[in-house]
């Protein structure tokens, strides 16, 4: 009994003090699915020998956690999370400005004006519809925001909850810009859309499985969600509203007080190299690279020809995000 106890105690001690190893490492928090981020991190390790330890969290959890750890940061870099998360991180004082050497090549609308965060890639909003259900009802995939208001779509649309999902913010922004930056019209439209919505999912990609399996007809989500479904063999159609959609940035930032700052900075520099930016295409990430001249996935390129991308003003979004979400809670979803 005593020896069991001793064994137990020593095990516990090991557990308490066991942290990440001592070899050169960068600790990363990311909101990207492991299937997208891990090949990229592995490529970096293969090239430099630097180990990337990462933890995947949803954007909100990521910010909440990094804020709680502010006095003793566990992560060095936040890599791959939507721009609104970075706006919140900037406000919470958990990231510090860092400008990459390539900063001048990155278009100004894809980075924070004070240099707190920079876009790794851009992520486009799409409509994804279940082909079989469309056929059953003799419908075509929606090609206008107004198509979605048709009563045939009642209870057949799933999309993300604005309180948890960056995708939802992209949707709200898309609508805002598509309606000529007229906020009242945008809110009014969303109220009408709400009547056709079956459920708002908590994660941005939450509606892709239901749409793939026919539990719902239309899912408003991001490009990678739909392309993954297609790749898996589900019969889904991707379409865009002719009025246009917004694309959000997926950013990177240096954590304030990062313990492995030097290695972290090197990793951020690599993020904006052509080598890494080309990986977005090579690894089927289905996002648009931010470095001009980096290669773009052929399928994405073909699809993007149909899409009308609306320019997003990051600074305006940073200032107005909370109000847009509040109005969504208090006006749009309030029956």
């Amino acid at each position: 009994m005593a020896s069991t106890l001793r064994l137990f105690a020593s095990l516990l001690l090991v557990l308490i003090f066991a942290g990440p190893g001592l070899a050169q490492t960068v600790n990363v928090y990311t909101a990207w699915p492991e299937s997208l981020s891990q090949p990229i991190f592995k490529a970096y390790t293969a090239k430099t020998g630097v180990q990337i330890n990462f933890l995947r969290l949803s954007t909100g959890e990521l910010v909440a956690r990094a804020t709680a750890e502010k006095n003793n940061p566990r992560a060095d870099v936040i890599w791959g999370a939507p721009g609104d998360g970075f706006a919140a991180a900037k406000e919470a004082g958990i990231i510090e400005p860092y400008k990459t050497a390539n900063i001048d090549k990155i278009p100004a609308e894809l980075r924070d004006k004070d240099g707190y965060y920079t876009a790794v890639s851009r992520n486009t909003l799409i409509f994804m519809s279940n082909a079989k259900l469309l056929k059953e009802k003799g419908l075509k995939a929606p090609t206008s925001w107004n198509d979605l208001l048709d009563p045939v779509f009642k209870g057949q649309i799933q999309t993300a909850d604005a309180r948890t999902s960056g995708t939802a913010l992209t949707r709200i922004l898309s609508i805002y810009y598509a309606f000529g930056k007229d906020e009242e019209k945008a809110i009014d439209y969303q109220k009408k859309l709400h009547k056709n919505v079956q459920v708002y999912t908590k994660s941005g990609g939450g509606c892709t499985v239901p749409a793939s399996l026919g539990q719902t007809m239309v899912c408003i989500a991001h490009m990678p969600d739909a392309m993954e479904a297609k790749k898996k063999g589900y019969d889904v159609v991707v379409s865009f509203p002719k009025e246009g959609v917004a694309a959000v940035i997926e950013g990177v930032a240096l954590v304030k007080g990062a313990k492995n700052r030097e290695a972290a900075v090197k990793f951020i520099e690599w993020t904006f190299s052509k080598e890494m930016q080309d990986l977005l295409d090579k690894n089927d990430v289905y996002m648009l690279p931010t470095l001009p001249g980096a290669s773009i996935d052929a399928d994405v390129q073909a699809l993007m020809k149909e899409a009308k991308l609306l320019p997003v003003d990051l600074e305006w979004v940073g200032k107005n995000r909370k109000r847009l979400v509040d109005r969504w809670i208090n006006e749009v979803i309030r029956d």
Binding site: P33, L55, L57, G60, A68, A162, R163, P210, L213, K232
Partner: protein
Amino acid sequence: MVVWAAVLLFVLYPLGRLLVLVFWNEGPSLDAVRGLLGDWTHRAALVNSLVLAALVGVAGTVLGFAFALLAVRGSLPKWLGRALDAVVLLPLISPPFTAAIALIFALGPRGLISYHVFGLTNVSIYGLSGTFLSETLTYFPIAYLTLKAVIANIDPNLEDSAFSLGARRRRVFRTVTVPLAIPGIANAFLLVSAASLADFATPLILAGTKFPVLPTQAFLQITGLYDMRGGAALCFLLLVPALAIFVGQRRWIERRGGSYVTVTGKLGAITRIKSLSPVAIAGLGVLCGAVALLVLVCYSLIAAASLVKGLGADNRLSFVHYAHVFSGGLKAVRDTLIIAVLCMPVGGLFAVVLGFLVARTEFPGRRALEFAAMMNYALPGTIVGIAYLIAFNDPPLALSGGALIIIACYVFRYSPTGIRATVAQLQQIDRSIEEVSSSLGAGSGETFRRVTLPLIAPAFFAGLGVVFIRSMTAISATIFLVSISWTLITVRILENMTEMALGPAAAFSVFVIVVVFVVVAGLSAVLARLRAPVAGATARSFLGG
């Protein structure tokens, strides 16, 4: 003393840190709470949470009672009883999102049952109905486990006496069986309602925006609106009903105190049980059979998803998802198993010691201790997770990033089931059994070891089992505590679900279910051996009666 210190450190201290966060804004301040009450979604969430907890509590307890009655008094063939046990345990031992998602597959707009069997196209699974159904299915096994032990402990001879006094079946049931099971029923209701109050995984998927509930709302406030203070304040709102349920239940039991002793050491021969008519058994059988069937269908769908390439798209048999579990997912599997195995003995022991202290000893602050120990269970996991993160990030208590913080979280969050089981068990055991031991010259330590311990062993193993099950399946608190060095299967499942990797998610779920099943089966084998003294015969023999 040690118990108090542990509770202080791992329950009260983190909560204190959180309190400061909520009520301290450069001075004492109520602005966070005031801000909440002005918001319609939060007001609706408070009401909804209470309604949902009450509904799930009642439905779960009724269902649990029905299953327990059928299992204990239904004279079922042994294999059927075992099979029923196995099916009933499924929702309890599967990761939280699994039941909700399986239910969508079964009863959603194109679900297997709703569409393919009944041809319905307009079913609504989102909102109150779906959440209620899913939570009831997930949590009634708690009531079942609690009540099964209690009903099994009711001496059939008491019912016999009633029969011999001329009472009819229904009257015996109403005036003997049910009243004797009342501490168990109250316990079951408390545990199920508290579980529903704190559950965030199910509403996260099924409640939608039409039916906001507090834990989900707190989660949204923190992770979606980046408002930690508001989220924490919402959780304190949740403390009020949790406290009310707890206090109410205590009062109720105590007012009727004393009359629940069913293990006295003076039992007669075991007689054939006749408190249930064949008709009643048939009715119970139909009800329980239907519920069990629904559960089975749901989990068959999960199993199917894990065994095909892509459910609905490519239905060819494939083991790629399991290959993934044991390659890419191996670290999560290993970490989870290590943590769960470490949690089990610690949690079980803590539960029994605390339960014993509360039920059998007198010391100042006894009630406070019991209440404090229940606190982490009643609170939504999100808030416990955040509190732990805040409290244990800085030296000298820098536990975050390690396994200990996850272990502590599980032990203090999930041993209350064991504590309640111990207390309930002890309330049924006549104190005189222990007094006999003392008067025969045994010290209190020896009495505890040789008399009390064997009597509460079932509670110990039940508590141990629950801690293990939860360590394998819980997510809401620990999602904040996993780190770069220690990750968990449930977190991987959630990730897979959100990135639409249904196959790996299902494969991970099946793996968890199988592991837990094996462990639970092992525990019940141990329990079956220990059951004997509690059931009467051996108790009598070792007391020399």
